[in-house]
């Protein structure tokens, strides 16, 4: 019972993360601010990691490729923030 609940909530998070990525990419198109490109890519990557999680083993987050992909997602967030502060005119 709890396994399908977990899968259900993960599914919503995954779809949600894709939507967030799309919205950030749209902000990027509107404002030409690179931060949004980084954030969009980050949430798309997060969605991918959650997708793989959901399709393989929804409760087991110890697989290397899963946390490697999540790491990439958060490195993209960090990269976006760093890039923002490099102060390009």
């Amino acid at each position: 019972m709890s396994e399908s609940q977990v899968a259900f909530f993960q599914g919503i998070s995954t779809a949600g993360s894709f939507v967030v990525a799309l919205i950030f990419l749209r902000f990027w198109r509107e404002s030409h601010d690179r931060l949004f490109a980084f954030f969009g890519a980050a949430f798309a990557t997060l969605a991918v990691s959650w997708t793989l999680l959901g399709l393989t083993s929804p409760e087991d987050e110890t697989r290397p490729y899963l946390y490697a992909i999540r790491l990439v997602a958060f490195l993209l967030l960090i990269a976006g923030i760093v890039d923002k502060n490099r102060g390009t005119q």
Binding site: V6, F9, Q10, V20, F74
Partner: protein
Amino acid sequence: MTIADAIYLLCALTSLAAAALLLRHYRAVRSPLLLWSCIGFAGLAFNNVLLFVDLAVLPHTVNLAVPRTVVGMLAMVALIYGLIWEAGA
């Protein structure tokens, strides 16, 4: 601490930093988008913290999968709400 644990901790810290930056600027400009995004990133941080606790701290008999995924889902919902409804002007 395994690599997975370290990565989830890093993810939590990154999300927390993002939430903190958003909160700081929200207090300056009072834009609702910032408040909801802050809540979303804080939820994402909490989700990663619960992941870390689940994997690194708690024994295998306890499983935080349900609260974890609910928190993650609520975080995404908050983020989507803010990005769609409060990004108006």
